[in-house]
């Protein structure tokens, strides 16, 4: 046993040798969407990893050992904020003990401060209302215009931490902006027929998408955020669908389909399973591909031509 000690010491020494780590900036993001944007802005100068998979609901992650490891080594931690990660980021930061990415450090990048949050509750917020986010709705990456704001903040922070490549980060932001300006009118034209139309959503997570493309979310399948529907709520929804002439129900791929299928069968409303994040479905690898897939989903469901 004692003979092993020198070997163990040399392994630790080797692992902690600074040159061993890659020269690139080590960026950790809480979600796949911000990882995709960081990749576009950072290019070859960054090594980026998302802590959660795009196929999972990011509210309900857990601070796993591999996350502790990744945050411990991060130069930059990019989060969505607005309480999206409230359940798991505080214990994770505590366990990872990395002063570079603690709240207040330059490596702590809360993207929610770069956008205007919608759905900010007025008056008293109580858990009796379900999962209401006191700071506003955190699903803002679903507005492509917010994607640009996120990219802007990422570009600035990358440039602060890594001034050598600041010009590259700025240039990639320009490219990001140009590509977005080229694509946004195309996307808006594809969803033009949805403009002003009432839509039903499963969870309160598409308000930004609605804002960007001009449709209205008039009701949710969940009676309160996070609370699954019961029979009487579904009956009310059937009435709402009829009176408001709602033609589409939009939902994330990870929610149960039974309620939606029941409503579709009762009313003929079209169920649109929308990828809510990069990586939510196969083939969505970049932030721009996400919106391409969202539009494709509307088309496949027959909601837009």
């Amino acid at each position: 046993m004692l003979r092993l000690i020198p070997y163990l010491i040399s392994i630790f020494a080797w692992c902690s040798f600074p040159g061993w780590a890659q020269a690139n900036l080590n960026v950790v993001t809480t979600t796949s969407d911000s990882a995709a944007i960081v990749q576009m802005i950072g290019g070859e100068h960054v090594q980026v990893q998302s802590l959660t998979l795009g196929t999972r609901d990011p509210h309900f992650a857990e601070a796993t050992p591999s996350m502790i490891r990744r945050v411990h080594q991060a130069d930059l931690l990019v989060l969505i904020g607005a309480d999206l990660e409230i359940g798991w980021l505080p214990p994770l930061l505590e366990a990872a003990r990395n002063s570079r990415v603690l709240l207040g450090a330059r490596g702590y990048v809360d993207l929610s401060t770069s956008v205007l949050l919608l759905d900010k509750p007025t008056g008293t917020v109580s858990r009796a209302q379900g999962d209401v986010h006191a700071n506003g709705n955190p699903h803002y990456w679903l507005d492509p215009r917010n994607g640009l704001r996120m990219a802007q903040m990422i570009s600035v922070r990358l440039g602060e931490i890594d001034p050598t490549h600041a010009a590259d980060y700025r240039a990639r932001l320009e490219a990001f902006q140009q590509e977005l300006e080229r694509r946004l009118p195309v996307w808006q034209a594809s969803l033009a027929s949805l403009k002003g139309k009432p839509v039903l959503a499963y969870h309160k997570s598409f308000v930004y998408l609605a804002d960007a493309f001009g449709f209205q979310i008039v009701a949710e399948v969940e009676p309160k955020p996070g609370i699954p529907p019961n029979a009487s709520h579904l009956q009310q929804l059937i009435a709402t669908i009829h009176t408001r002439k709602i033609s589409a129900l939009i939902m994330e791929p990870y929610y149960e389909r039974r309620s939606a299928e029941y409503l579709a069968q009762q009313t003929g409303v079209k169920v649109v399973v929308l990828p809510q994040s990069v990586g939510a479905q196969p083939g969505i690898a970049t932030y721009f591909e996400l919106f391409g897939a969202v539009i494709a989903a509307f088309k496949t469901a027959g909601v837009v031509p």
């Binding site: 392994i11 992650a61 050992p65 309480d83 359940g87 798991w88 999962d131 240039a171 009118p185």
Partner: protein, 423 residues
């Protein structure tokens, strides 16, 4: 740079393109472009303005990393065993342990950042014991360093010893209504906790690997296998008062090595080994050693809704050498439990347990052979509350008739601070 050279022609092209584009999107894009132009000229002030626009709520929540939470755990149920027998069968201080209603644990926890260097945490517990008396305990109160270099962390104060998986967990995070038998035997009804300090080192190894080394006082009612309380009787030996700590070996020393990582996109695991050494009070020079191994595995499919479905498997095995004058008592035991979150909000669980002490006479409820199996079903209306039904099938050597059947209903509420999703 390449892109920069393209900006002007691209802008010209874009504006041409925009003439043909949808009028509304043109204005929106122009607004966005203006906004970005502004942000480029004064990013910092812009950011401040946005932060202010996002109002005082953000500031309040972010500035106040001070959390206050109350959790209350109640249970009701009945058993084929009498209340006196239940006291031995359900030896955990927070176990439902009498026929009728039990207030298992009401916990007040306050915590947050003290300053840039330290975090602080205090947990006060209230419970009502078998005699109807309210008991208040300072369960934990400690500081931890926030960000020492080299992955080091110091914790100091009164805290649960980081031995194995469950000992340092609080009752409201347990997956069963009661404490595993072996933990009640080795660490007493309240779990192993005492005053002291511990170092932790998150190693730079390419997987999660952390070492813990702690020293705590070895005396007191929550240090059961060690000095414990004078006058208590262990296997016929009345515990003596060995006086205060004079040398390092009078303290309780703990060591733990925890490793973990993702085995795949869907499976994460933790494997830990722990050891304890400290004096016991059966004589002036007797020691106790406890060793343990713990494994936790969790599976979640690639697509999941609100953390469901999942399967979590947790196992601990412990052994103890408890010196007595001229001899050593050897005890061992463990449990294995599986949880299956089969649909959102619903979790089914099964725990199997075993414990025994070598050469015991079959009458000591803390050393006899015991087996217990316990299936349960939990419903979580939200993350902040739960209702749990558990059946316990006990087999104990000391018990008249050897078997007992119990059924417990547990309900829990959490107020205040958001519950932490720890692995």
């Amino acid at each position: 740079m390449y892109y920069r050279q393209l900006i002007l022609p691209a802008a010209v092209l874009l504006s041409l393109h925009a003439v043909t584009a949808h009028a509304a999107s043109e204005t929106e894009i122009q607004e966005l472009r203006d906004e970005l132009q502004q942000t480029k000229t004064g990013y910092e002030s812009r950011l401040k303005a946005l932060e202010e626009r996002n109002s005082s709520a953000t500031t309040r929540v972010n500035a106040g990393s001070f959390n206050f939470g109350v959790s209350a755990l109640f249970s009701a149920g009945g058993s084929s065993a009498t209340d006196a027998e239940l006291a031995n069968l359900q030896a955990g201080g927070h176990d439902p342990n009498r026929n009728g209603f039990t207030v298992q644990n009401v916990e007040l926890s306050i915590g947050g950042a003290v300053d840039p260097y330290l975090d602080g945490q205090a947990n006060l517990i209230f419970l009502i014991d078998r005699n109807g008396e309210t008991v208040v305990e300072l369960e934990e109160a400690f500081l931890t360093t926030r960000a020492l270099s080299y992955g080091l962390q110091v914790k100091a104060g009164q805290f649960f010893t980081e031995f194995g998986r469950q000992n340092s967990q609080h009752p409201h995070t347990w997956a069963f209504v009661d404490q595993p038998v072996i933990l009640s035997r080795f660490f007493g009804g309240d779990g192993l906790r005492s005053q002291g300090a511990r170092f932790a080192w998150l190693t730079p190894l390419p997987w999660y690997s952390e070492f813990y080394l702690g020293a705590q006082n070895a005396n007191g009612e929550t240090v059961t296998s060690f000095l414990f309380a004078p006058g208590e009787i262990v296997d016929g030996h009345t515990l003596i008062d060995r006086g205060g700590a004079r040398k390092a070996s009078d303290l309780l020393w703990s060591a733990r090595w925890l490793n973990g990582g993702d085995l795949s996109d869907t499976v994460s695991a933790n494997l830990g080994v722990s050891a304890l050494q400290g004096p016991n009070a059966t004589a002036i020079d007797t020691n106790t050693n406890i060793y343990g191994i713990d494994l936790y595995l969790k599976w979640q499919p690639i697509v999941n809704q609100r953390g469901f479905p999942f399967i979590a498997w947790q196992t601990e095995w412990l052994t103890r050498d408890y010196d007595i004058p001229g001899d050593s008592l050897k005890d061992r035991g463990g449990y294995t439990q599986a949880l299956w979150g089969f649909t959102p909000r619903w979790v089914a669980g099964l725990r199997l347990e075993y414990a025994d002490g070598r050469d015991n006479n079959g009458t000591d409820p803390l050393r006899d052979q015991r087996k217990r199996y316990a299936p349960n079903l939990t419903f979580y209306p939200t993350e902040f509350s739960k209702i749990r039904l558990q059946y316990n099938r006990d087999w104990a050597e000391h018990l008249a008739g050897n078997t007992a059947n119990s059924l417990w209903l547990q309900y829990e509420i959490n107020l205040g601070a958001h519950s932490a999703h720890k692995f």
